[in-house]
Symmetry: C2
Subunit: 436 residues, 2 copies
């Protein structure tokens, strides 16, 4: 028999938690109509109950006492929007142990304690829903689990960090240098005061670990994902890429290769015709290549109060409605049930590459560079060299045909040692998406 009311307990009431409270309040009638039962917020566990949150919460709802929170027997679903691993991990553990379903937006928690928590949930016959942990409001995990289940996924390409995408869009469209574009993103509230984990690619890497686990049906650890950010990216490369028809994007990539998965986050060039190249500003997107469906792309807001709350509350509906718990029990797709990901050797990843060296304007430079590429079995696709004002440093850009990453890295290292070359060559992947 279905209950008439399901009690919700909320851990954390910041930006996303506040959005969850608003949705549960403002859409209550519609949710009741859809589910045939009422969702009622029963307790909100916070660190400081006196902090102003701009929400009109009924008296007695807020508590800083975990005992008071967990002793409320009417709570059937615990929603965690506090973030971080400590002390939240232990609270989530306690929720599962006490037989409550858990909805969480916490990618850091899943990355560090996911296996333990998934296994515990299964033992206690409850579920963990985590759509909001990746891609904010875009229902990409649901699509991978349910919408594309018939497919063997061959590759995924994601724009999973809105801060980086905003910065890259400004650099590309307005010619803003990196520092100015970052400052603007911070002013607009997209970038944290300390944006390190965004701009160095670590945030996108944590999301890729979760998405790749579901897409490829393996257990991907955080350490399996190599990452490079946009913090070293020079405006010149974005402009040269543009001249060649490419848009720079920080891509989270997972590819199924012969010897295993290639997983990584790095700034790449994508042809400006590709849907992924058109994902602008703070939007996120995930392109999935399934062996049957071909190319499918999901686009939307990857962060922010209401988009993330949308994913959290949709998860609540899916849990309370009963179908998600059934899927959690039946579907053998959860990271803790999978074998560890076998990784491809990064040097063996093949692709096209963009190389820029800063060379002294002397005769024979191009011959030396092309010679090195030839020696490494790399053939050239295009060359770009502009006339310069003559301060002695000439940027020479070369794009390659398909080549092994290891060979390209070795060639770049050799170029760096040429006396006519100044500094380290810049090397970026050019992503030719499957025609899907």
């Amino acid at each position: 028999l279905k209950p008439l009311t399901v009690g919700i307990g909320l851990i954390g009431c910041g930006t996303v938690g506040g959005g969850v409270v608003e949705l549960l309040r403002d859409q209550a009638a519609e949710y009741t109509r859809r589910l045939g039962c009422r969702l009622e917020l029963r307790k909100v566990l916070v660190r400081d109950t006196r902090k102003s949150r701009g929400l009109k919460l009924p008296r007695g709802l807020l508590t800083a006492d975990p005992e008071a929170f967990f002793s409320d027997e009417s709570i059937g679903v615990v929603v965690e929007t506090a973030g971080g691993v400590k002390p939240v991990g232990d609270l989530v553990r306690r929720a599962l142990e006490s037989g409550r379903h858990v909805v969480t937006a916490n990618k850091a928690l899943l990355a560090t304690r996911g296996n333990e928590l998934f296994a515990l949930a299964r033992r206690r016959n409850v579920c963990i829903a985590f759509e909001a942990s990746c891609g904010g409001g875009i229902p990409i995990l649901g699509a991978l689990k349910f919408g594309l289940g018939a497919n063997r996924v061959d590759a995924i390409y994601g724009i999973l960090n809105g801060t980086c995408n905003h910065i890259l869009t400004q650099m590309s469209e307005n010619g803003s240098p990196y520092a100015a574009a970052l400052a603007e993103a911070q002013k607009l509230g997209y970038a944290e005061a300390d944006p390190t984990l965004d701009v160095n690619g670590a945030d996108a890497a944590a999301k890729l670990a979760i998405v790749a686990s579901l897409a490829f049906g393996v257990n991907v650890k955080l350490a399996d994902v190599r990452h490079r950010g946009i913090d070293q990216l020079h405006i010149d490369d974005i402009q040269f890429g543009k001249e060649l028809g490419y848009t720079a994007k920080l891509l989270a990539i997972g590819q199924r290769l012969d010897d295993g998965l290639a997983l990584g986050v790095e700034p790449c060039f994508v042809h400006h015709h590709e849907p992924l190249a058109q994902v602008r500003l703070s939007f996120n997107a995930l392109s999935v290549f399934g062996h049957a469906v071909g190319h499918v792309m999901f686009l939307g807001r990857g962060a922010g109060r209401m988009p993330t709350a949308s994913a959290v509350v949709s998860d609540i509906l899916n849990v309370v409605g009963g179908w998600y718990p059934t899927a959690f029990e039946t579907l053998r797709l959860w990271p803790d049930q999978q074998r560890p990901a076998r990784l491809a050797h990064p040097d063996r990843v093949t692709g096209r590459y963009y190389l820029r060296v800063s060379a002294h304007d002397k005769p024979g430079v191009m011959a030396k560079l092309t010679r090195i590429l030839g020696d490494h079995g790399i053939s050239i696709s295009a060359v770009l060299q502009h006339e310069t004002a003559g301060d002695g440093g000439v940027p020479v850009v070369v794009t390659t045909h398909q080549a092994r990453q290891g060979a390209v890295r070795a060639a770049a290292a050799k170029m760096a040692r040429l006396p006519v070359v100044r500094g380290k060559p810049v090397c970026m992947r050019i992503i030719d998406l499957p025609s899907g």
Copy 2:
């Protein structure tokens, strides 16, 4: 207790049905691993068992006899890929009546007999899964039902017919006239021998009826959706739109307005920066604007053997896994459970418009046109008039600011009666997507 094997009965073994057979055969091990039970094709009901299908079907699987098909007690899920309403509707009815779940790709069947079949399924405690009926391989129905459940959907904009989108892309990018672009689409196998239902917008309208029912939680009938196709579209308008920064797309639009829903299919202009404008060739897409999530877009192959089979087989997995039947039972979102859609008066729909008249090259034409617009309370956003070779017919293009459709239609009718104007003015909506 979960069964170790679930029998599948397939009705129809053409393009899509053949793809379903292939997936069930080639991915069998992986599906068994995911579900913990085997899917076994037990019977394939076709009109002619002797027809060559290029599939190595085991002896005895094919039958032309519905009695043999339905008497196989091991069949728990009936998959319908035959298409059409007769005799398929009665076969689907029989499947439901005999207690089988149904998976179908048949939008025509759902549009004409959906209410009856959904109600029957509910009475018999089985479900109907129909992801493949709209948007081919893109899991848009699942996203609306489960991924975005927390949202009040305010608007949807879909590119739901790949034939039209292929033709429009060729007209826009290569300057091909309509007839040539249609011939190419036919040569490539995207357009049927009789492409009428594709190019006149009827196919997109049937899909919009299904998508809008789920998005807005109402019962949308086929007759609720007005449609205009691309068959009257002139290459000149596509080129003028391009000059103004717009891309022509056949859009299926549903908008929640004050007095009801506005539902329609028509060729529109979209700013070339918008993700929808970048959906090229035979790809489909759906943009959803939810009150919490903002803009979410789903893109992929809207038709074709394997993309459609991907949606059908994903549905089979969701049905056999047990979560979709739970959702079908619990979620009150199915068309037969909803009140009929209340429709907004089409004249009250506001938007921006593109108008082109062919005028005799005489002084005062522009004054007359702008006067008519002013008289109807319509203000002008941009004007485009090129110098001409002087055969007497000058195209004059005007784009408007926000205006009521009724006013724009009335103004266009008045322009048509001006002696200096030749033929009927061309009138197209310009879609300014919410900033979402």
